[in-house]
Amino acid sequence: MEFAGIKSLIFYAFALLTVASAVLVVTVRNIVHAAFSLMITLFGVAGLYVFLQADFLAATQVIVYVGGILVLILFGVMMTSGRLQMRIQIERGQLILGGLVALLILLLLFGVISNTPHWEGIKDDGSTLEPTTRTIGEMIMQGEFLLPFEVVSILLLVALIGAALISRKEVRDEE
């Protein structure tokens, strides 16, 4: 862990925040607390996106995940909270099996990371953040991601119409 200046410090702070709140999400008893720890985790991930030079994605992460999806999760949790305190009994065998799976995934991730080309640490040479918005926009609208973009938007449209259809009031024709 080399201390390469202020950027590393902030990076480690964000990483610690993300990991700690992720641990809290799965271990805390109160499910509403878990949802709010998820919020902190997603914030941390947004910070990490900034370090990956993805500024637009960081802001989108906050808007979509924290401001949209997490609100939905919270609505779900609060409306259907029959048992707020989850006292899950975990057997010893399940704990060992879960730990094994987690270890395997960790090894897999390490393998992926170390085999990634062009991977470098955090450069602390005062380089500025180039704006990615224009690049993303051009790739989506003019580049190779035009078709997936349109397909995804049609999918969202279908979901929207479906939700509106399911939740509307029945209009009965009065005779």
Binding site: I6, F36, M39, D55, A59, I63, G67, P131, T133
Partner: protein, 421 residues
């Protein structure tokens, strides 16, 4: 005199439009560490080996400290302004006793709130109860970091400036839900969920009207947006196309709904749902909510002024008339005054009328704006005098025609007939 004040203020961390390096680091390197050599009680050699990163952290904390010291004064002034303005509208005088003409009233209120009992609902969620005002407060104030007050006067010139502000405003919803849930009261929860639904719904027309501006300016940076309005009154984005004219009103209405002001203040109105999600809060926590609401009001007015009314650019192209920081603050305060004016003019909307307004009226209008601006950008790719003249003409003619046509149909309504027996 304003120029001198502006000079003094903008001699501190200054952002140049070309390179967005870390201003804190440059400040630490160029100003702070050389100052260390001049301090009397610092041993020699510290200045050379002083790590720049530590200096950067110190400068950042210092800037945050100044920020936190100055920005909360804005809600203090706004609370008093609201009381005086609403009193004037209602033919009374507002607070007059505390301080000359009642100017120290907010301080007295703050002191009173500090002395109140700090009551945390015993069956509620203590941790969330404590955290909710902090989240709302922090997010309302974090939006100030990206608002340009003057030529070089802003905390940080993000590449995604306006998008960052939208992102931070979305987090306020979480704080509201937290506050409603942890109060352990049906009314608070209901008010919080209604407020959350309202804020989330009105973010969409808000974002779409911001999109209209960004389409014209072709950049998300706040300084670019303001810079494109630098040619006098008629290059303000509100006049540039008739669609941004409509977009300004969509933005303004959505932002009134975002800050939970009348006519959209169903979640927190005094006579409804017993003050909604901040019912159970008392003392300084309630003061935090209040301060956050007024800071949010100021922030969205500032954003509207930046996006549509030219930010810190002046009215005349050459001279700096009504420009710079005073001009910007004046425009923002004018919009805040309009918000207060609307509060005492309009009755409150019911929650279904609110949603109706958002999804059936504001959203189609916002989409129509985007379409219009797209077509406009095709017709007039470069802003010229011709395009501005045509847009002003369309705006004026549109207003006149709408008034004439709809006014006529207003007066042509059939007389109520007595029903025949």
């Amino acid at each position: 005199m304003f120029d001198q004040i502006q000079q003094i203020i903008s001699n501190s961390p200054r952002v140049s439009s070309e390179a967005t390096g870390n201003w804190a680091e440059e400040f630490a390197r160029n100003r702070l560490i050389p100052i260390l050599e001049h301090l009397p009680f610092v041993p020699a050699g510290v200045a050379e080996h002083f790590p720049v990163s530590l200096g950067t952290i110190l400068v950042m904390f210092g800037a945050c400290g100044i920020f936190v010291a100055i920005v909360p004064l804005i809600p203090l002034v706004l609370v008093l302004a609201e009381r005086k303005v609403s009193a004037q509208i209602q033919n009374r005088t507002g607070p007059m006793r505390v301080g000359p003409w009642g100017t120290l009233q907010t301080l007295a209120d703050g002191v009173k709130l500090i002395f109140k009992e700090d009551f945390i609902p015993p069956q509620g969620d203590k941790l969330l109860f404590v955290f909710a005002p902090y989240i709302i407060f922090a997010c309302s104030f974090a939006a100030f970091a990206a608002i340009p007050f003057g030529q070089g006067i802003l905390i940080s010139d993000f590449n995604i400036g306006i998008f960052y502000i939208m992102a931070i405003s979305s987090v306020v919803v979480m704080g509201v839900i937290m506050a409603g849930w942890s109060s352990n009261s049906k009314w608070s929860l209901l008010g919080a969920l209604r407020s959350a639904a309202q804020i989330v719904s009105y973010e969409i027309p808000l974002g779409l009207s911001i999109l209209v501006v960004v389409m014209l300016v072709e950049s998300l940076r706040m300084q670019d947006i303001v810079g494109s309005q630098s040619e006098g009154l008629f290059s303000w984005l509100i006049f540039r196309t008739p669609f941004t004219f409509i977009g300004f009103f969509v933005f303004f209405i959505s932002s009134i709904a975002e800050v939970n002001r009348t006519p959209f203040d169903l979640p927190e109105a005094e006579s409804e749902i017993v003050a909604g999600f901040h019912t159970e809060y008392s003392g300084m926590r309630f003061a935090l909510f209040f301060i956050a609401e007024y800071a949010n009001m100021f922030a969205v007015s500032a954003i509207a002024a930046t996006l549509f009314l030219g930010g810190w650019e002046g009215i005349l192209p050459g001279y700096d008339f009504l420009g710079g920081m005073p001009g910007f603050v004046l425009k923002t305060l004018f919009l805040v005054f309009v918000m207060m004016w609307l509060r005492w003019t309009l009755p409150r909307l019911r929650v279904d009328q609110l949603m109706n307004l958002c999804w059936k009226y504001l959203l189609p209008i916002a989409f129509f704006n985007i379409l219009g601006v797209g077509i406009w950008g095709l017709i007039f790719p470069k802003d010229s005098r011709l395009s501005i003249i045509i847009s002003m003409a369309i705006i004026v003619v549109g207003i006149i025609v709408t008034y004439a046509v709809a006014g006529k149909s207003l007066s042509k309504r059939p007389e109520p007939q007595p029903s025949s027996a």
